[in-house]
């Protein structure tokens, strides 16, 4: 059993952290938010570092799509408060292509890996909340109609991967078909807006958009299995991003406790604040453990094992993120409430990760519904552990 990261993973982490601290410092990042919303330079920088190739399988021009490699990348993007469409394109988008396979995967994944293509997944609808299968958008006779909301980086995407219903009732898992649509196709209307965590999203409506057999990703009517698999990869990635954000937030808070003086002493001398900072530490470490588990298990062939790890990670990270975010603001006093300090920005990102791809309650219910008596790592035999974190 070995929980250490490989040399390559450590180098990757160092390279990303160095790049972001030089080229994507807090002030630069804020300028992007209030300007164009994304930075072509940063995107090129991420591509050059190889990040866009990390989640793409080797046979499609990437570096191997390993859950642990992605954890390393996402932790650093979380720490760096990066607002570029990496998650939409390289995580969720690429995962949908990967599990959908076929011509779309072959054609588009290499373009994701080299940074020339941006993707967005149009899944959520006004009524769906956390239910990925709750879809009213229709795909009938090769024509797509419907309205999606909170499409992450939808206005920045070249291609949209849309979940529509070719059969079944609104809340059926069967009858869902995924189609790949050009964002500039006739009948596609995209309304982009800011999200409160510094990123962008869009409402996208489809009016008689042509989406024939060529547009289908994976098998018609069987899109939900692809959605589920891709969501697992995406959730594990979000868990890792949250760990990075929480770690940075905790470090900043401890530093503040050491330097901010009131009543003649650093406020870190007050036991109430000490204990709270320790509680933050414990929450982060527990969450980190399950984020690691999810990163490993997300590549497992065992569906039950994957589900268990991913639901558990989202729950544990969700709880930790709420506590850590709120405590960080509180302990920074009035300064924590300002836009100019990064503390509030980490807090907002953590809160929006909670709202993405299922909140704590959603995953708690899913986990409870799994039942089962397996141990933490999903296997009853500790000697057959595949918990080695070194890259395959």
């Amino acid at each position: 059993m070995d929980f250490s990261f490989s040399d390559e993973q450590q180098q990757l982490r160092d390279a990303v952290r160095r790049y972001l601290s030089q080229e994507y410092a807090f002030d630069a990042r804020n300028k992007i938010i209030h300007g164009a919303g994304t930075s072509p330079q940063a995107w090129a920088g991420l591509a050059e570092l190889g990040l866009l190739g990390v989640p793409v399988p080797e046979e499609h021009g990437g570096f191997g799509a390993n859950g642990v490699d992605l954890l390393v990348v996402m932790e650093e993007l979380g720490r760096g408060l990066v607002i570029e469409p990496y998650f939409a394109t390289a995580v969720l988008g690429a995962a949908l292509l990967r599990f959908g396979g076929g011509a779309h995967a072959q054609a588009l994944l290499p373009q994701v890996a080299d940074g020339s293509l941006k993707l967005a997944a149009a899944l959520t609808e006004n009524q769906s909340r956390h239910e990925l299968f709750n879809i009213a958008a229709t795909l009938k006779g090769g024509v797509l109609n419907g309205a999606k909301t909170v499409v992450l980086h939808g206005a920045e995407a070249d291609r949209l991967i849309v979940a529509a219903r070719s059969g079944g009732a609104q809340r059926d898992t069967a009858g869902i078909t995924l189609v790949v649509v050009d964002s500039k196709a006739a009948g596609v209307r995209i309304e982009g807006y800011r999200t409160i965590d510094g990123m962008r999203a869009a409402d996208v409506s489809f009016t008689n958009v042509a989406a024939g057999a060529d547009a289908v990703l994976g098998k018609a009517g069987e899109g939900y299995a692809v959605l589920e698999r891709a969501a697992e990869v995406a959730i594990a990635a979000l868990a890792a991003e949250a760990i990075g954000a929480m770690s940075a937030l905790h470090e900043a808070t401890v530093e503040y406790l050491k330097t901010r003086k009131q009543f003649g002493v650093p406020i870190g001398k007050f036991q109430v604040l000490q204990h709270r900072a320790v509680e933050m530490f414990m929450e982060i470490e527990q969450a980190r453990s399950l984020a690691m588990l999810a990163a490993v298990k997300v590549d497992s062939a065992d569906a039950a094992e994957r589900a268990r790890a991913v639901h558990a990670a989202k729950v544990r990270v969700g709880r930790a993120a709420k506590f850590v975010g709120q405590a960080a603001i509180q302990m920074h006093g009035g300064m924590g409430m300002t836009d100019e300090l990064n503390v509030g920005h980490y807090f907002k990102r953590l809160a929006m990760i909670e709202a993405t791809l299922g909140d704590t309650d959603h995953h708690l219910a899913q986990f409870a519904a799994l039942g089962g008596a397996a141990d933490a790592t999903g296997s009853t035999d500790v000697n057959s552990q595949k918990a080695d974190l070194k890259a395959a």
Partner: protein, 393 residues
């Protein structure tokens, strides 16, 4: 033990409710209920309507414009206003500088300032906190040096709520740097339009501008603007802490927000049914409702004690802690209810009221309300106060 309002008090409540129904402008009500950002004109307009009715300052002595209501009636009035969705009457003039002036000011000050506070001719803000003096307010450094018939003020205040709209500021300033820190502080009134005063907005994490830094650069202040005696300012500030504090629990407002939460949650779906039928979510709302019920009764116990002549005490700290925890929890559940729809941030919509309820801004509301456990004496400080004053530890 009698937990009921008297018939007279119930009739009073009905009278207030009817008046509000007839006189609260619909557009202001919509802005408040839909969590829109209020403009200066919105606050002023409502304050003037209340002043015309004679209700702008119920807590003041009758001879200065107060209503002569009992503590119970004042409580009922606050609750009815909150439930109706009135813009708040900002506390700085009516509930902070005025009581200090009434108790410690001279006749000339009262005759000049109180009517202008009453009818909202002067917008007041508070100059207490400084960058180096938050919880440790007594360590404040803004200096007021006496020179002849003037004070020369130099320094900086921060977190000054709505200072960008203000005509006047009341400040705690250091007049004796040699004395023990609480004993060298004075309570000084300043004209915000005086030369040497600069207001710099602070953007909060919800991207609103509700607080400011205020810089004082050799500001000349007439000695007549000193309240009471020099170096007694800390006493006057402490007087405020023990004065009329049940409003801080914001029970009426939280009841209104609870109804809003239930409505918004009722419109969300999970498992093919309303989110309010999901036992997990419904239980969380129930838990919160029960805590609010408890707080309401606790407030009534305090109000009742006041009606029977017992002065307000350190239980105000409990009301502040529990009141703010409830307010925050309400916003947490609102964000939870709407799921992914918490992400969109249509900043341009914040200033315009819209028909019906709009949920866009609920995440911003949640983020903004993290301030409530920090301001007014942080909840940690409130617990310290209760530790000392109630438990004697």
């Amino acid at each position: 033990m009698d937990l009921n309002y008297s018939a007279e008090d119930r009739a009073f409540g009905a009278q207030v409710r009817a008046w509000l129904d007839a006189n609260l402008p619909k557009d202001l009500k919509a802005k408040v209920l839909n969590h829109r950002r209020l403009a200066k004109e919105d606050f002023v307009r409502w304050h003037k309507i209340m002043a015309a009715q004679g209700w702008a300052a119920p807590n003041w002595p009758v001879e200065w414009g107060g209503t002569g209501w009992t503590p119970t009636q004042k409580h009922i009035f606050d609750e009815e206003c909150a439930r109706a969705g009135t813009p708040p009457i900002l506390p700085f003039g009516v509930n902070m500088v005025a009581p200090v002036m009434l108790r410690f000011g001279n006749e000339a000050q009262k005759r000049h300032y109180l009517p202008r506070i009453y009818d909202c001719s002067d917008w007041w803000c508070q100059g207490y906190s400084e960058p180096g003096s938050g919880s440790d307010l007594a360590s404040l450094k803004t200096r007021a040096e006496r020179r002849g018939d003037k004070y020369i003020v130099n320094g900086q205040k921060t977190w000054t709520t709505l200072g960008q709209h203000a005509d006047m500021i009341f400040c705690l300033v250091r007049t004796d740097p040699e004395a023990k820190k609480q004993e060298g502080i004075s309570f000084l009134l300043m004209d915000m339009h005086a030369p040497g005063i600069t207001v710099r907005p602070i953007r909060t994490l919800d991207e609103d501008v509700e607080v400011n830094e205020v810089f004082f650069d050799n500001v000349e202040v007439p000695v007549d603007n000193l309240i009471g005696e020099e170096n007694k300012g800390w006493t006057y500030a402490k007087y405020l802490l023990g004065h009329e504090r049940t409003g801080i629990a914001a029970v009426g407002r939280s009841k209104r927000e609870l109804e809003f939460l239930k409505r918004v949650a009722g419109e969300q779906q999970v498992g093919g049914a309303s989110l309010m039928q999901d036992i997990r979510f419904a239980s969380k709302v129930a838990d919160l409702e029960i805590e609010l019920m408890a707080l309401e009764i606790t407030v009534l116990r305090v109000v009742s004690a006041e009606s029977h002549g017992k002065g307000p005490g350190p239980e105000a700290s409990l009301l502040k802690v529990k009141g703010t925890e409830i307010q925050q929890r309400l916003t947490e559940l609102m964000v939870e209810a709407i799921g992914p729809r918490a992400l969109p941030f249509h900043v341009e919509r914040f200033d315009t009221p819209e028909e019906g309820e709009v949920i866009d801004e609920l995440a911003a509301y949640y983020f903004n309300y993290r301030k409530t456990s920090i301001y007014g004496g942080s909840n940690e400080i409130q617990k310290n106060i209760m530790t000392q004053m109630i438990l004697g530890l």
